[in-house]
């Protein structure tokens, strides 16, 4: 395992950012440091590759949202039947609070990441938990909003697009929360030196991604109401 190739003298603190200081791999961009034998493991992935792969994946994932956004904009600007009968538009106040909470959680997760970088594990867990709480607040708020809306999935293109967009985004928020829970549990394991610093950075990147998507979504659906 990777932990075996940790250079001697790495602090014994159970810091999840072990091989991040891995030399060589980043020193020669484009060349994997085979031969030197560090950090690479035939059956697991090299920690640095994980980040590359994850960024590629996120870039691709963002295009699903882009396609859905384009679809929404096309419907909104051209559909002959938009709002279902009796529906005036969307209530903005609660969703705006939700938005503020979700967007500020990006700052909080950054604080968590920084704490981990400084090897302050307790502080890391506190910020991490706060991020999770804020994310949960968002999801619950969204669920409550859904329950009180006067239109359903099958009420025309408007209802369908609204639920598809917010639902697909909500699925990402829930995924993010599950990943955070996973890393929280892992950070409690005693004496571990695993490349999870990369994992934390990846989750945090994912969280920022989910936030950015939400801002666009919010502008498209809640701010741009008039036709």
């Amino acid at each position: 395992m990777t932990s075996l190739s940790q250079p001697a003298g790495t602090p014994a603190v159970p810091s999840p950012i072990g091989p991040e200081q891995d030399p060589g791999a980043s020193a020669s961009p484009g060349h994997d440091g085979h031969g030197s034998g560090h950090g690479h493991n035939a059956h697991g992935a090299h920690a640095d590759h994980t980040m590359t792969g994850f960024v590629i994946f996120l870039a691709s994932e963002s295009l699903i949202f882009l396609a859905l956004f384009v679809g929404y904009a096309v419907f909104k600007s051209s559909s002959p039947l938009w709002l279902p009968a009796g529906v005036e538009g969307l209530e903005v106040r609660e969703p705006l609070i939700n938005t503020v909470v979700l967007v500020s959680s990006s700052l909080v997760i950054w604080l968590a990441e920084r704490a981990l970088h400084r090897q302050r594990l307790g502080e890391f867990r506190a910020w991490w938990l706060l991020t999770m709480a804020m994310g949960t607040y968002f999801v619950v708020g969204q669920a409550i909003e859904w329950q009180h809306l006067p239109f359903g999935l099958a009420s025309g293109v408007f209802g369908a697009s609204f639920y598809l967009l917010t639902g697909f985004h909500g699925l990402h928020v829930v995924t993010g929360l599950a990943l955070m829970a996973l890393f929280l549990v892992r950070s409690l394991r005693p004496g571990l030196v695993l490349p999870e610093g990369k994992g934390v950075i990846a989750v945090s990147l994912f969280w920022h991604f989910v936030d950015v998507i939400w801002v666009v979504l919010f502008v498209l659906t809640y701010v741009w109401q008039r036709r």
Partner: protein
């Protein structure tokens, strides 16, 4: 394994003392049926299952051709016929071509760049095992009430949002699910291939020392990453329309069926380049080997791959010229479509220049490549004809289009697939194939495919519509020829399968480099050990395709050659 420390530090005796058990020998075949994370095992798994589905898709095609050998709909009724062509197209694209190409990516990319494996071996195995899953989902649609989807591989609404029997589980739903799972698997693959190529190249192998196959694989996987998400969005909306009563694509509920066509073709036009780019790679690898000359214009050929990637994303509306597309849009997309012929033409030129005055060796892989190139030039001409709006308005939706894309997809891409299988067969199985059977396979395939797909062009020009089970007797002669060709193609698979199976089991043992080819994969034993070069990766010092230039590819080339041959260094 520990013995490596006792000998010279750079020489790894594992290669000699513990050769891989020959695939097929007892105790080793089981790994092909397990969750194995070795890219070479996964590659062979992909290719084997894909070839199985080639037979399935071919069988469906032969039933269709059996129907079409006479003008009336007598063998199967038109509804069944709709299901047949839908499944045929879907099987061939999603269950044969994409997987077989992913198989090549798995086999070839790590050895070609000197990496021990893919960047994410477990993700790789997972992506492969999704393939049988969506294969079974799609095949299951033959068993559900109402039979398989009959809306074509494009699944245009409104046809694809109908569920006349009202069953929750219907052929169209299974089609959407299969395509969605296939998309997930392809994205996993794409992330893996791109990361591997970007981060795991051997020392000294800058981008411009990479074999063209890796360039084209990267360009093709980039298309997957950009296009598939859009198809996914469209497929999710279609699923909701079909099963949950939404009306994204239903005009009566305020939706827009054209939006689906845009989503679909935004991916599915580039998808044809996902399939053709790796074959451009195969051509660029094989022509230099069998003509003994360096690839003409290596840099230009490499960069043209990315020009194609870029352009392929802005031509999709040429599939919608007769779908009520506004005239300005038709004009724009006519121009972009014609532009894509430029980088493609540059590649064709480079291959011909490579062949020019080469000492050409007409072995089976080369025959398939040459015929594939010839067919591709023909298909490119009919492609540019179709890109011309006034022509397309006339021949769109006729057999001319069917002829065009079969010339690319079968007569060029599948020829390239066969060429690649023969060329790299000795490397990855450790056995030589039988040249006589290979040539027989080639001749039958060439005659069969020409008979099958060439007459379609004139049937189309005369006005025979596509997707029909019965037709006017004036088109009979072209259809008889096409059907005979199709049956001949069925016969042609016999020498192929016979060759592959018998030579894998008892063919002559293959040397490390039977074709005298240049490339990192040929510096490995046949078959390569599990981790290719493992820790002892050669340092690349010159570009690929140095045929006749007499320069070594890597530092210490002789040591690697001796080691591959199992000799003492």
């Amino acid at each position: 394994m520990a013995s490596s420390s006792s000998s010279s530090p750079s020489f790894d005796p594992r290669m000699i003392k513990e050769p891989q058990p020959l695939p097929g020998s007892p105790g080793s075949w089981r790994r092909y049926f397990s969750f194995n994370t070795d890219a070479k095992v996964i590659g062979i798994q992909y290719i084997a299952v894909a070839l199985l589905f080639l037979l399935v898709g071919g069988l469906l095609a032969m039933i269709m051709r059996g129907e079409l050998i006479t003008p009336p709909a007598d063998l199967v009724d038109p509804t069944v016929y709709n299901g047949l062509y839908t499944m045929h197209g879907t099987v061939m694209l999603f269950l044969f071509l994409f997987p077989v190409l992913n198989g090549f990516n798995n086999l070839l990319i790590p050895p070609m760049i000197g990496a021990p494996d893919m960047a994410f071996p477990r993700l790789n195995a997972l992506a492969f095992w999704l393939f049988p899953v969506f294969g079974v989902i799609l095949m299951a649609s033959f068993l559900v009430p109402g039979g398989p989807s009959g809306s074509g591989w494009w699944a245009y609404p409104p046809l694809s949002t109908q569920n006349p029997l009202g069953h929750a589980l219907n052929g169209q739903l299974l089609w959407i699910l299969a395509v969605a799972v296939s998309g997930v698997s392809s994205i996993m693959g794409a992330v893996n291939f791109c990361t591997t190529i970007i981060r795991m190249r051997a020392p000294g192998m800058g981008l411009f020392k990479m074999p063209i196959f890796c360039w084209t694989a990267l360009a093709a996987q980039l298309i997957q990453l950009m296009g598939l998400p859009v198809l996914t969005a469209g497929a999710v909306m279609l699923l909701f329309d079909l099963s949950f009563g939404t009306s994204f694509f239903k005009p009566e509920g305020g939706g827009d069926p054209m939006l689906y066509q845009h989503f679909f073709w935004f991916y599915s036009h580039p998808a044809v380049y996902v399939m053709v780019l790796p074959i451009f790679g195969v051509f660029s690898e094989l022509f230099p080997v069998y003509a003994r000359k360096p690839l003409f214009g290596y840099h230009v050929v490499a960069i043209a791959s990315f020009a194609i990637t870029g352009l392929s994303l802005i031509v999709w509306v040429h599939h919608m010229f007769y779908s009520g597309t506004p005239q300005w849009m038709r004009n724009v997309f006519m121009v972009t479509t014609m532009l894509i012929a430029v980088p493609t033409g540059i590649k064709v030129f480079a291959w011909i220049a490579t062949l020019w005055r080469g000492s050409i060796r007409l072995s089976t892989p080369m025959l398939f490549c040459l015929a594939g190139l010839f067919n591709f030039i023909f298909a490119g001409i009919t492609g540019v004809m179709l890109a011309t709006v006034p022509v397309d308005i006339h021949v769109g939706n006729t057999y001319f289009v069917v002829g065009h894309f079969h010339y690319v997809i079968f007569n060029m891409i599948t020829f390239g697939v066969f060429a690649a299988i023969y060329h790299w067969f000795p490397k990855f199985t450790g056995r030589m194939y039988y040249e006589g059977l290979g040539k027989l396979h080639f001749i039958l395939t060439f005659i069969g495919s020409t008979l099958n797909f060439l007459p379609m062009h004139w049937a189309g020009l005369m006005g025979m519509p596509r997707r029909v089970a019965s037709y006017d007797p004036e088109f009979a002669s072209a259809n008889v020829l096409a059907s005979l060709g199709a049956f001949l193609l069925g016969v042609a698979t016999i020498p192929f399968l016979l060759n592959i199976v018998s030579s894998w089991v008892r063919g002559p043992k293959a040397p490390p480099n039977p074709w005298n080819a240049i490339g990192l994969e040929w510096l490995l034993p046949s078959p390569p050990a599990a981790e290719n070069f493992a820790e002892d990766v050669p340092t690349v010092i010159s570009g690929p395709y140095g045929y006749g230039l007499g320069q070594p590819l890597v530092e210490d080339q002789e040591r690697f050659e001796r080691r591959a041959a199992g000799l003492k260094p």
